[in-house]
Amino acid sequence: MERRGSEFADTTAQLRVLNNHRDRITALPKFASKLKESGLWPLRPTSIDILQMNVGYMCNQTCKHCHVDAGPDRTEIMTRETMNQCLDVIRGGGISTVDLTGGAPEMNPDFRWFVEQASPHVDRIIVRCNLTIINANPKYNDLPQFFARHKINVVSSLPYYNKRNTDRQRGDGVFDSSIKALLALNEVGYGKEGSGLELDLVYNPVGAFLPAPQKSLEADYKRELKRLFNVEFNSLFTITNMPIARYLEYLIASGNYEAYMEKLVNSYNPAAAAAVMCRNTLSVGWDGVLYDCDFNQMLELEVGGAAPSHIRDFDRAALTERAIIVNQHCYGCTAGAGSSCGGEVA
């Protein structure tokens, strides 16, 4: 966005729009007031089980909706020093899951080293793999074998089970390359019953509407991907698009912003609010700065209160007592059945 001269390269401009864009939006209730009505204010963690690390914004794709604004031109990347600080926290216990995201996390030169160091100390490592990275360069072709060796839970975006909708959001050729990568993952056992190798797909709407119910859409995906391509996977997660970054730009440019925000607000679900992912997840930025979630990270909303703001100063007690920072974009996680990196929450 910065390269294009977009006003939203400045995160304060995004927050200004979310809070004051037009009179109609200003009239929408503040997310904090909704939490108060639900008895959830201030929103506090229930635990810190999941350490979600954004290891860099560099990506081989430039998806139209990307909340990270990731792409080949992004240079922010987590160093081995910061990874070691994360490993100190992981070795300290209490973290069951490490969730690696980006950008394309595999493009970090220390990605494989980190996975090897972390895997003995946690129950599960998730890699948010965009699939096409596996085919992007010969040095990534063996990623399926590497993932299998470390029993990585591969979670991959595939916004629809056809080429038209997938390529419209993620770029020309992405669907065909994704299918090729899924078949390579199936080949080493991913998505196959009894293999213990979990491959989950992520659906998010290709436009200004809410996601379909997870269970029924998962059945459609399984039937069609098997029928058309002989692809298998374990679970489908449906995720709501957050009104930030490139997706916010799209909403405004297409004239859908007001209606989308109204829909999110009108679909507020207190049960989803009680189960939001920021209550058991801590997000680490590429530079080690701590956030309540990856979306807050992209809005530069650091953890608040007396909690330490950097992974090197990790303090479980202080972080567990912190009040989670919320803003108007949080309606994206509480609409309908809710939304998280693991799909529906309510």
């Binding site: 909708n165 436009g207 509407f209 379909a212």
Partner: protein, 110 residues
């Protein structure tokens, strides 16, 4: 531009209860039950509604069930096929009356 149809009116559908509450309550309760998951899935019901919306040419319903069909996981190809079903039935309904025309023509012709 003033028109008979105002897109903002769709969101005010519930306001019909202001003039007659008991009947509106019954209608909306029935409406909700009709679209609940049943022997047909919500996605299938939404596609039927989309097709009917085109048959009765209701712009409110077309807007509402285009969005709803997408939010139930349908794709554009499926939605267009649903509209073709409506078009086929509408077209067929006209054409099948041609039999009556033929009957009458035969009746009065030598």
């Amino acid at each position: 531009m003033k028109t008979y149809y105002n897109p903002d009116d769709l969101a005010k559908f519930g306001d019909i209860s202001e003039f007659q509450e008991p009947l509106a309550k019954k209608f909306f309760s029935y409406y909700g039950d009709v679209f609940a998951e049943g022997a047909l899935s919500q996605r299938e019901k939404s596609l039927i509604a989309l097709a009917v919306a085109h048959a009765i040419q209701c712009p409110y319903c077309i807007d509402a069930y285009t969005t709803d069909s997408l939010e139930k996981g349908s794709n554009e190809e499926q939605m267009m096929e649903a509209v073709h079903v409506a078009a086929a039935i509408r077209g067929g309904a006209s054409l099948v009356h041609a039999v009556q025309m033929m009957n009458k023509a035969n009746e009065i012709s030598m």
